[in-house]
């Protein structure tokens, strides 16, 4: 296990935990950006350069700010009166723990069962943007078009949903 991996893992998990545990919602949002940054670094570590930069650009650049805007627009920044956690938070926690147990067990199980180089990575693939471009335009052109459509629809949908109705409609 290389040092970089441990470092990054610690950073991301800490970011994730903070995003979930912190009282102040804006702090949660910022912790979330830290987690996103950690993940981006993971991607770079895994030689997925394009994915890493895309992750930074999309998540840190857009989603984080979106979350922050949402928090400000819904006056979330003041600490809520009746506690931060929902009533039966313990059950939620237990279920999450259960899920983690199952996933962890499955991962460990597969490590043993899967033959072959499950553990060791292959040679670093030389992934250039040109290849990604060709792939996007070649094999994945349909998903690309559909995602384009989806994004436009989401854009318009989000605007309409969140639009400030005219006074009359209140």
């Amino acid at each position: 296990m290389s040092v970089v991996f441990y470092l990054l893992a610690a950073l991301t998990v800490a970011g994730g935990l903070a995003a979930v545990m912190l009282k102040n919602t804006v702090h949660c949002a910022l912790a979330l950006t830290v987690a996103f940054a950690g993940l981006a670094l993971f991607f770079l570590d895994l030689d997925a350069q394009f994915a890493g930069f895309a992750q930074i650009l999309v998540y840190i650049g857009a989603v984080a700010i979106l979350v922050v805007f949402a928090i400000l627009l819904t006056k979330g920044s003041e600490t809520p009166k009746d506690g931060v956690y929902s009533r039966n938070w313990l059950a939620g926690l237990a279920i999450a723990a259960g899920v983690f147990a199952v996933l962890g067990w499955a991962v460990l199980q597969s490590a043993r069962v899967l033959p072959g180089p499950g553990g060791t990575p292959t040679a670093t693939p030389e992934v250039t943007v040109k290849e990604i471009g060709n792939a996007l335009m070649g094999r994945y052109v349909l998903p690309l078009e559909i995602v384009a459509l989806l994004l436009t629809a989401a854009l318009i949908g989000a605007v309409i949903v969140a639009m400030h109705e005219k006074e009359g409609a209140k």
Binding site: V99, V102, A106, Q109
Partner: protein, 690 residues
């Protein structure tokens, strides 16, 4: 006697034959237009009808001239235009029309007489408020009649034949308010229909055998040698050949329409219709259609006849014809209604024509048909003028002495009467009757028809003089004094009178133009015609007979016709016979007892059958279904509902539990989701444990 005539059929149809179909088409279209007109549109209706028929007459004359021209050049032309009407699988039903001397003559006769009667009826029907409807039916009839004449296919002929039957029903029952007229129309229609059924049978059989209904089709027609040979080979029942049997079946149809013996009952009752109707339909044309049909189908009837001999079919025709002639003449003697006498006279003359056809061949029968058409139309129109004059009085015992009041009608009526009796030399029936009698003389089978026909001629002369005596001589016995009919009525009478005399000349033995024309042979005028053996004797006997009849009639009824209350002279002489004759020899009653009784009985049986048997079956089925329905209901209520409803209740209560889960809070759903993931994964792992 009659020889088989060979025609050199011209295959290519000349232009005139091409447009021949217009002759029947125009009057029919005219009748359609008139039908659409409103009732007060009298002038247009009359103009349309007369216009269309005159156009047909014009076209018929052109066709007649064309045929005559062809005949003059020595070639007897028969032009046919055939076309496929329906394609049924491989067999196709062809129709078509033909132009040959027989058709040409009939065309002219029907069109000309029809036109005169149309003009006459403009005057006669003037006050009748259903004027337009009358002309609509009349022009439809004229079109149909011309169609019958032109048809080259038995099927097309049958179609027009039915149309003619329909129009006769419509016209007889024209004054449908009168129950008698309605009953007469129904009677006419049904009796002719009986004949038509046999006609249809014959037609179907012919089609089955020869595969075509076309008369002449360039060698392949049913009347041509090829088909006839085929027909001869099949033996039919009663020793008849197929050709003979089909011929007889078709003759039954003709008998129905032409009022021959068994099916003649409708014709006298048909006098209920207006007089022009009687004139046109029941004198000149429609009844003649039957005779024309036999003439058209003659090769079929004659097939297999040995040289000079006749076939059984023709003998049957002759016997029926001869018997009807005498039978009808006898009844005519005892009738008191002016139109009924003429009706029976028509039946008897038709019997003559049938006999003529049977014995003497097409030319003899047709010549008598043409001459009869003219003078009988004249007589009917004359009677119509008399009735019109005597303010709708039809009983001859209430007329009398009209000689002075209606001179013109009397003159034309007298000419018609003399023509009918066959007054020698000048009048047409003398020559046509002689033709028939000559044929009867030479008839190889038996002599009795000859004597019957001679006796019939005597009776004809007698009852006509009786009728004239009652109507025109003696003194006026009616209520209101009669008055002469207007010009529009008397002019056609005059024209018809002229033709009644003139037509006889084209058939004299010296100059047998008509027979030659029909046979397509050349003709020359030579007096030796009279020198034929036995002809002189025949003419002598027939003139003798006519004079005898006239003298008898004049002696009994000439001067002082008895008052309406007094019994008839003859009645005094033979009251029982007179009673029989007056009641038409109880033929109607005979039918009433037999045929109609049978139908009544059969109707009751059918009703019983329907009510009891079928009713029972239906009731049984209904009962079964009701029982089944009750069983269903029982099952449904107890078994199905019971179990199903209970099941639903359980489910509903179970549903309640599940509903509790739907708290509406997103996180509960998420928790359930996660829990199920965990559970599934656990199962997966548990199952994959080695």
């Amino acid at each position: 006697m009659q020889e088989t005539i060979s025609f050199t059929p011209q295959l290519a149809a000349s232009p005139i034959t091409g447009i021949l179909w217009l002759i029947p088409a125009v009057p029919i279209v005219a009748s359609g237009v008139i039908a659409l007109l409103k009732q007060p549109k009298r002038k247009t209706a009359a103009a349309l009808a007369i216009g269309s028929l005159s156009f047909s007459l014009l076209l018929s004359l052109v066709a007649f001239a064309h045929v005559v021209a062809g005949w003059a050049h020595g070639v007897a032309s028969r032009e046919t235009v055939n076309f496929t009407w329906i394609q049924v699988g491989t067999a196709n039903v062809d129709l078509g029309w033909v132009l040959d001397p027989l058709a040409a003559v009939m065309l002219v006769m029907v069109a000309f007489v029809g036109l005169l009667i149309f003009i006459y009826s403009v005057g006669y029907m003037a006050e009748d408020e259903n004027f337009t409807r009358f002309f609509c039916f009349m022009s439809l009839f004229a079109g149909a009649m011309l169609g019958v004449v032109l048809a080259n296919s038995l099927l097309l002929l049958f179609i027009f034949w039915e149309l003619v039957g329909l129009t006769s029903y419509l016209l007889i029952g024209f004054w449908y308010q009168k129950p008698a007229a309605a009953a007469a129309a129904k009677k006419a229609f049904l009796t002719t229909k009986v004949g038509d059924v046999f006609f249809l049978l014959g037609m179907v059989w012919l089609f089955a055998q020869t595969g075509t209904l076309l008369f002449y089709n360039g060698g392949a027609g049913s009347m041509e040698a090829g088909a006839l040979a085929g027909l001869l080979k099949q033996p039919a029942a009663l020793g008849l050949t197929a050709a003979g049997a089909i011929g007889l079946l078709i003759f039954c149809g003709a008998a129905g329409k032409s009022g021959q013996f068994p099916l003649h009952v409708w014709l006298p009752d048909a006098m209920e219709g207006p007089t022009p109707v009687s004139a046109l339909i029941h004198a000149a044309t429609m009844v003649a259609a039957g005779v024309y049909l036999i003439a058209r189908v003659y090769p079929l009837m004659q097939a297999g006849a040995l040289a000079g001999g006749t076939t059984t079919a023709l003998t049957v025709v002759t016997w029926v014809g001869a018997f009807t002639a005498v039978f009808a003449a006898l009844i005519a003697v005892a009738q008191n209604d002016i139109k009924r006498i003429l009706a029976y006279s028509t039946v008897s003359q038709l019997g003559y024509m049938m006999a003529g056809l049977g014995m003497g061949g097409v030319a003899v029968g047709m010549f008598h048909l043409i001459t009869h058409g003219f003078f009988k139309a004249l007589l009917f129109l004359g009677a119509g003028s008399v009735i019109h004059g005597c303010h709708e009085e039809q009983d001859i015992r209430r007329m009398g002495g009209l000689r002075a009041d209606m001179p013109l009608t009397f003159l034309t009526y007298a000419i018609g009467m003399l023509a009918l009796c066959g007054f020698p030399l000048l009048f047409s029936r003398f020559w046509s009757k002689d033709g028939i009698l000559e044929a009867a003389q030479h008839w190889s089978v038996a002599k009795t028809p000859f004597y019957l026909l001679v006796f019939g001629a005597l009776l004809t002369a007698f009852y006509m003089t009786r009728q004239v005596g009652y109507v025109f001589f003696g003194y006026w016995r009616g209520k209101k004094p009669a008055h002469e009919s207007p010009a529009v009525i008397t002019v056609p009478l005059a024209i018809l009178a002229f033709f009644a005399m003139a037509l006889g000349l084209i058939g004299t033995p010296a100059w047998p133009w008509f027979r030659a024309f029909l046979d397509g042979r050349a003709v020359g005028f030579d007096w030796h015609g009279f020198a034929e053996p036995g002809l002189a004797g025949l003419m002598a006997t027939s003139t003798l007979v006519v004079f005898l009849g006239l003298w008898l009639g004049w002696r009994l009824y000439g001067g002082q016709a008895p008052t309406p209350e007094e019994p008839d002279v003859l009645e005094k002489a033979a009251p029982v016979a007179w009673g029989w004759l007056r009641d038409r020899l109880y033929v109607d009653e005979l039918y009433g007892v037999t045929v109609i009784a049978f139908y009544w009985w059969w109707a009751r049986v059918a009703d019983w059958l329907d009510r009891r048997v079928w009713g029972g079956v239906v009731a049984g089925v209904a009962w079964a279904f009701r029982g089944w329905a009750q069983l269903n209901q029982f099952l449904d209520n107890n078994v199905v509902d019971g179990s199903f409803d209970k099941g639903c209740d359980e489910l509903a209560s179970g549903g309640g539990l599940l509903a509790a889960v739907q708290t509406g809070r997103v996180q509960t759903y998420l928790r359930i989701l996660a829990l199920s993931v965990v559970a599934l994964a656990a199962i997966l792992i548990w199952s994959s444990l080695p």
